[in-house]
Structure formats: structure tokens, C-alpha cells
Symmetry: C2
Subunit: 340 residues, 2 copies
């Protein structure tokens, strides 16, 4: 086991359920300094686990463990933190409660403050649903978060994004072996089906037109090889109930649902962190237009589009060009004098 | 029964199978004149039947039945022409053979020439897979087709479009009730799942962002109402094997596979008809970029983008603005002096 677990005890969730004996799995990189002012939080994405985030951490990179203390908290439902697959009866499997972005961040805040005694974060950043948690950090703890760089995500799940996820969910649950969550074995036909549905969304038209999957750094032998090797492989190693729990969190992500705010517009105006929002130029479900709308409402925020043909996976750490582009922006943001 | 059936006899298909006692269902509008020079062919689209095309036909419109003789041939596999659902054993259901765009058009050509004795077509036009048949008409019978106006379609199915269809297919076939095509009752869970997958593709981000589904002329009460009422309703009335037959035709559509041509570039250069190609500005699976590429290769072709937020369904006849835009282009094209 290459990660730690923080015991949260019984947790009352935003939608009303109590998650008993809740666990937050996390991993840290680098050392927390004596002043406790070099910490960065970097949440995970849909189906991802902490090690899937490591491509953005390294010597000489913005997230340099010789300089910063990087905490990767695993999202609830991802199979390492409390999830349908690892929670005991009676809240296991199909009975695992509904979890919001707000819940995730509130529990991560407890980890950061109670376990480490950290009062300021130099940065929160994340990809996709990790970006959603990033916005939530900035809003929920404005006095604590100096900078944010959400990439390929949004503060509120758009209706089109919601519909895309309806298709993913419908494909997974069309497999009768799913059995409304009470499966004896994973519904592998459904997992493979959801992977094929996802394939057209995760990368864009140009990515397929130019057969980028067949070239370095991916280098798949054919389109079918890519669909099986990359896409089916990605979801077959996950648990169906876990995927559905995170999907619910994603579909219902809404920064405007934060207590004390009257909708997402009001919430965005409440962000105090220095902000760079980075959409992928051809992201099909987090399109740049949605981030433009946000950028205009967050005080002082900058929008910086990741150019190129990798769609949503511009933020997935799969190619060195996009990684360098994101890393450069992180360096620039970390070098800026924060307002507090 | 509001249509006619043309008996084709035994037909050898492009991929080798023989479709025995093949039937082509069609409907005509208006009268063929004595010179037989006022005919228009207007093929159907994925899952559509002839009556689904009628929105583009009417007094005062380009396709005016008081002036033109409009023939709508039903695509093979659509449930009216020879299809898995209506072909007797042994070529019924899961044994129905693979049908290409080329096959469809060759049989439509027999209808037009053998049944009606027509030697020249004023126009071929169609939406989506109907557009694919339109390109094929122009290439297969260059001396016969004066003008074409394919809208929201392509001459060759792109790899991204292929992947989108993989997702649709995977969702439908994840339902065990499908039983590899030997179902006793329709796999309704799979049909509903494929409908939800399709929903995010058929309309674009802006369409959902602005909740256009909730306004006139659609006027659905909620997003869920639209997903069930429009999308699930669209596919639940179809037969699963029929849908899979047409999906195969779509995935393998390639004008460049026409005998005598060395790929799609060569094929496009062989089109002699006066051509206006009309993509929907925000069509997610037939994006304008793919039509631009074609337009540059068809001698004298014009590209005219249908503006707006209706995605692929800009060509679906659902709103009067897009209908008028397409109708205007058809009028303009029909008014142009053809080269022969």
C-alpha cells in the first residue's frame, strides 16, 4: 500500500446521509516545511487514483517535491477513500450514499488542517473532476487558498455534460449483470460498453481524424486496439458502483449549491484566489466556452486555453507537449505574489 | 400503407451476399412530366422512414410537388425496404447481410430507371445518411445527376464518427435481451440506453446550455422529459437488428470504395453534379471541417454552413429557421443552369 488513510469518523453528508467510519486515502510528496506554508492540494479525477496524478509532480516541475508538500487526496468513491466497494454493510454497494463535491472538499479540508495543521495552501489544482474540487476549495476556504489552477473542468456541470454522462451511465447499467448494484461479479459487458461510449467524448474529432492514437506517445496498433487497450482497460479495472457514485458526484457538481451562495454566478464572484483556468481547446464536454463564462465572473481570473487535438485528455498527462504547457502555467502562477 | 414497393428480385450485394427477393419501399410526391426531366431523389436517414422526410416537401418550397416529381426511397434496413425485421428465413434477423451505401444507391437507381424510365435527375438531396447516399448517387451515375445538396453528412464516415457509433452499438448490445440478434422481444433497455448515448451527440453543447429543448418548437417540460420523450421515443419504435444493419452501413460508408476509384479523394474528384454541401455549424459527428475537405476536392462545389445551435439536427426538420435556410439553398441550386 503506497498511501495513507485518514480516519474521519462518522460524517454527515450534504444530502443528509451519514457516512460512518469514513476514510480518506491520500498520498503526499515532499516535506511540509516548519512554517507549514509550502502545501499544495491536487485532487483526483473521475475513476483516477492518486498515482494517476503523479505525471504532474517531479524535480524541476512546478509541483517540485523538493520545494512543495503536495497532497493528493483520493476522491470519495474512487475505491481507495470510502467507496461502495470498501464500505461495510449496511452502507455498502448500491446503498452507498450520494456524495457531493462539497463533501469531498470539506473532508479534504479536515485532512489538511487536522492531520497536518496547515492554514494556508499555496495552490489547489486538478484535472476534470479534480478541477471541480479545485473551484470548491477556493470558494469554501477563501482565506486559505492562495492560488487555483483548474484544468479541463468546470464549477458547475453543464447540461450537455450531464447528458453525456447519462449515456455513459445508461451503457453501464444496460448490462443486466449490474443488477442495480447488487452484482456478484463486475458487469464487464456494461463496463466495456461505457468505455466505448466514453471513447468518442474523451478525445475529439481531430484526434481521431489524424489517428493520433497510433503515433507516439500512445502508439496503438489500430483504432480497435486503442478502444480495447486504452478505453476498455481504463474502466474494466474499476468497480461499477464506484463509477456510478463518482458519476453522481459529477452530474450534480454545482459550486452554486455551496451553503451561503445564491447560485453559481454568486459563488464564482466569491472566489478570492489568484486563478488561471485552463480548458482544452477541443474538449467536448468541458468546452472552453463554459470556462470563459466562469472566468468573466471570478475576480481577476485568467483563461488560458491548452491548444491542440487531445480533447479532454489535454489534461490527462498523456503527452509531453500538453504537460509542459500546463506545468509552465503552474510555475507562472506559483511565482506570482499572492494577495495574502 | 402509404407507400409502394418495388420488387428487385435476387440482388448480389457489394460485400458478396445475395439478398433474395429484395424489396425497395418508396413514396412519390407530385407527377412525373412527359419529358421525365423533373425528378428528384431524396433518400432517408438513420432509422428514418419516408414520412420523416416530408418536412422538406411542400407547395412553395424548393421540393414543390406541383413542379417536381420527388421520390423518397427507404434505405435498406429501415424496416420498410428489405430489413432484418421483414426478410424471411434464412436471411432474417441476425443473418441479414451487410449492406453498403453503394448497394442502396444501385437499387434506388433500378427503381428510378426500371420503374419510372427516368434518365436525368434534377437533384439528389438528403440528410445525414441520406447525404451519404446523395454523394454516392453523384459518383455512381455522373451522367444522370445534375445537382446534389447533401446536408449534415459526409462522403466517408470519419474515424471519430465511427467511434461515436461504436458507443451507440455497445449500449444497445449491452442488453442481454438483445441475444446477438435472436431476441424474442425488443431489447428495450438497450434501445433506451442507445437513445441516451445518442442524445449528447445529436444536439450540441449550446443547444443544451440554452435549454432549447424546453422552448418552442420543441417545448419539452424538462431535460428528462426530452431524453425520454424525444430520444427514447425515437429508438423504441425501431427494431434492434434493423438499427444495427443501418449502423453497419453508416460505419462502413466510403465513397472511395466505389468500384473504379482509388479512395475517397479520387472519388470526390469524379463528381460532376453541381454541388452545395451543407453542414450544421455545430454538428458533433459530421463537423464542417470534414465537409470543407470534401468541398475542396469536388469540382466547383460550394460549402454553405447552416448556422445555429441545433447540432446535427439542424438538418432534421425540427425548426422553421433551419428548414428555411436549407430550402433557400435548394431553390438557389435548382435555379442554376446545370451543365447537362
Amino acid at each position: 500500500m503506497d498511501y495513507e488513510v485518514f480516519d474521519l469518523g462518522d460524517v454527515r453528508l450534504q444530502r443528509g446521509a451519514t457516512l460512518r467510519d469514513a476514510k480518506l486515502a491520500y498520498k503526499t510528496y515532499g516535506e511540509l516545511n516548519a512554517a507549514k506554508d509550502n502545501a499544495i492540494v491536487y485532487p483526483t479525477w473521475y475513476s483516477g487514483q492518486h498515482y494517476d496524478n503523479e505525471w504532474l509532480i517531479g524535480e524541476g516541475m512546478a509541483l517540485d517535491p523538493s520545494r512543495y508538500f503536495v497532497i493528493i487526496p483520493n476522491m470519495l468513491g474512487n475505491g481507495l477513500s470510502s467507496s461502495p466497494s470498501n464500505t461495510p454493510e449496511p452502507h455498502d454497494r448500491a446503498r452507498f450514499p450520494e456524495v457531493t463535491m462539497h463533501d469531498n472538499v470539506r473532508l479534504q479540508h479536515r485532512l489538511v488542517t487536522e492531520r497536518f495543521g496547515i492554514e494556508r495552501l499555496e495552490l489547489v489544482t486538478g484535472w476534470s473532476m479534480g478541477a471541480g474540487q479545485t473551484y470548491q476549495w477556493a470558494l469554501s476556504y477563501p482565506e486559505m487558498v492562495r492560488r487555483i489552477l483548474p484544468f479541463c473542468g468546470s464549477a458547475k456541470t453543464s447540461l450537455h455534460n450531464f447528458v453525456f454522462l447519462e449515456g455513459v451511465k445508461a451503457a453501464l447499467t444496460a448490462d443486466a449483470q449490474w443488477h442495480h448494484g447488487w452484482y456478484r461479479e463486475q458487469p464487464v459487458t456494461g463496463l466495456r460498453a461505457m468505455a466505448r461510449v466514453y471513447a468518442g467524448w474523451g478525445f475529439c474529432q481531430q484526434f481521431y481524424r489524424e489517428q493520433i492514437y497510433s503515433r507516439e506517445p500512445l502508439g496503438y496498433g489500430s483504432l480497435e486496439d486503442f478502444l480495447v487497450g486504452f478505453w476498455e482497460g481504463l474502466f474494466l479495472k474499476r468497480d461499477a458502483n464506484n463509477l456510478l457514485t463518482m458519476l453522481w458526484t459529477w452530474q450534480h457538481a454545482d459550486l452554486g449549491g455551496t451553503p451561503g451562495y445564491a447560485g453559481v454566478e454568486d459563488a464564482l464572484a466569491g472566489i478570492r484566489a489568484m486563478t488561471i483556468i485552463m480548458p482544452g481547446e477541443q474538449d467536448l464536454y468541458f468546452p472552453p466556452e463554459d470556462n470563459e463564462w466562469e472566468q468573466a465572473r471570478i475576480p481577476g481570473a485568467e483563461l488560458r486555453v491548452i491548444p491542440g487535438a487531445w480533447g479532454h485528455f489535454a489534461g490527462g498527462g498523456l503527452n509531453p507537449v500538453d504537460t509542459a504547457f500546463i506545468d509552465d502555467a503552474l510555475k507562472e502562477l506559483l511565482d506570482r505574489e499572492a494577495p495574502f
